[in-house]
Symmetry: C2
Subunit: 350 residues, 2 copies
Amino acid sequence: MANQIRAAAPDAAPSTTLPRRRATSYDVARQAGVAQSTVSRSFRNDSAISAETRELVLEVARTVGYMPNALARSMITKRSNLVGVVATNYTLRGNPEAIYAIGEALAAAGKQLLLMTAPHDNPTIADLRGGLEYPLDGLISCVQLSDPDIKTLQERHLALVLYNRRSPRIPVDSVTANHGAAAAKMARALHAAGHRRFLCVGGPSAAPVSRERVEGFLHQLLAFGIKNIPMVETDYSYAGGRDGFLAQMKGAKVPEAVFCASDQIAFGVLDACRFTLGLEVPKDISVVGFDDVPEAARPGYDLTTMHQDRVDMARQAVGLLLQRLAAPESSVMHAQVTASFVRRGSAKLE
Amino acid sequence: MANQIRAAAPDAAPSTTLPRRRATSYDVARQAGVAQSTVSRSFRNDSAISAETRELVLEVARTVGYMPNALARSMITKRSNLVGVVATNYTLRGNPEAIYAIGEALAAAGKQLLLMTAPHDNPTIADLRGGLEYPLDGLISCVQLSDPDIKTLQERHLALVLYNRRSPRIPVDSVTANHGAAAAKMARALHAAGHRRFLCVGGPSAAPVSRERVEGFLHQLLAFGIKNIPMVETDYSYAGGRDGFLAQMKGAKVPEAVFCASDQIAFGVLDACRFTLGLEVPKDISVVGFDDVPEAARPGYDLTTMHQDRVDMARQAVGLLLQRLAAPESSVMHAQVTASFVRRGSAKLE
DNA sequence: GCTTTTAATGCATTCGAATGCATGATATGA
DNA sequence: TCATATCATGCATTCGAATGCATTAAAAGC
């Protein structure tokens, strides 16, 4: 009795022997009784295939779980639809929504995002080697590449777009924010509020973005006749800002206003002011940042800063890339996203 | 005169007509006077190729800028060396270092990371369609997929690893932290400190990670005879935590301790306490989080929380994937990363 | 009813690297 | 000196989809 029940039980699992390998257009063709080329054309629907045949093919494809192999397609079309995005640990941490936005924008254009990691200090294309073996359609770089490396990439004829940075010497498509002008605006605002004794806490001196911001700021102050502004170099981070600022403050007079090259730096400076030095912000000292990351709006920081729309920049980067792919020989393009002043409570302003 | 100078000038640019297309193994073969197969073998160095020939081939390859085409290789080897990583805007924002670590670990194994974006609510494999047309070797999912979708992916024979989540019903390789046990530990710590009136601010009820944490917490309290703990559901975010908490507090008695299913939620609750409700932490109320993101250590938050090593989890995920690729038929694996209690100042403890 | 046009499909080749097998050139042994 | 073993290389095919051209069948024209 028990045996019979046991024997009757295992009817549930359908013994459809799963194919060890992925179905190909030939499999579909055979089952549908058509030629492989007909299957291909049914999927591309770029040619004259009768409605019934197409439907039949798609139906068979559905049942066997067929899906065109993008690799095989790339071989013949010479378009891999793969776009590399180069990021370091820092750029990834600082722009996660931007990376996501790039992925979305690429997907909308039928392209895929190949994420290529690179070390934070002195990244080279040798670090990307594995990824470059794939015939990428293009590359969006969120890291600073050397001139020779940029040249090498261009010689490979892949569409290159720099994200949030530009190449000073070689013409390359790029998207940036107007760092310099925005920093100058910040300087004017602080100066107008009566601040005269400044401190500048920058990012790595090798990072052009930080340099542009710092130089834009200093240049504007110079125009007001203010010079010899002390300068602290950091790694862009919270800890860097905090520790760099504290080191600078040892025995020095507290500045009236601190310009930080990023919000993260500013957070570090702010916490150092309030929790270590016991300064009240903005009564004793004004602190401003740059980026307007979401945390800047929190009441704990309430940071006055320059807003940069990273997601917009990401979309623009993809836009430039697609344009470049459509017209490889057109002249170099540059998109600029305008930073906007965000007035909050961390700085005394008029 | 001027004409002559002008005519003489443009000598600089070397007129090496760049090949419109990427060099192939045939190009190298022709130039080196060997067969294409010899070029291939020189690069794979898996076969008996004399040292001189290999050197010659590599030298020629260098001068013409040849690099094996990974796509063509994949066609024949049936290994694309592409691994998909599925992420939503939220998971990407919450785990940027983990994504980076996955990229690094994959690169070390000669694989590339294909980043596949998916919507935050109810992601399905239809969202991944474009990426799935590539014959991926495997997939690391940082999002919650439905059972049928998981089944479909398994039927495609691609190595699937779930990151920071497990599949309750279908056996799938996965890496998680011991959310439930860790939350229980948190509950014991708070209970031991004398707290008796609790509030629970969870993530989305559909997110198993949040559920595990909340259930682990509630279950432990139940063991202490404490039940009917009010529960707030959020989207895991700062704003969600802040607003959800404030809504709950309307007319309600302030709880002694608030358990938050993530640090971001806890930050929102903390700011609501201090900046909106005027409560002192931890004097008036204890708040604890979960994750130990870097911001939790800042003096402005000083959050007591459970530390989860996301980077470790990322590496383990890649490790599992590689093991699965090496032994497709071996039994299902599960790696667990142990969360550790981080005692800081946001909660009254013994 | 026969030719011409058009539409629908099949055939055969292509993309670039990998690889089993055959071949040729040395080196080794008898 | 000849046979055999060893090493190095070439030949030819393969992966899966796309596509120019050829072919067939049906529709239209006369």
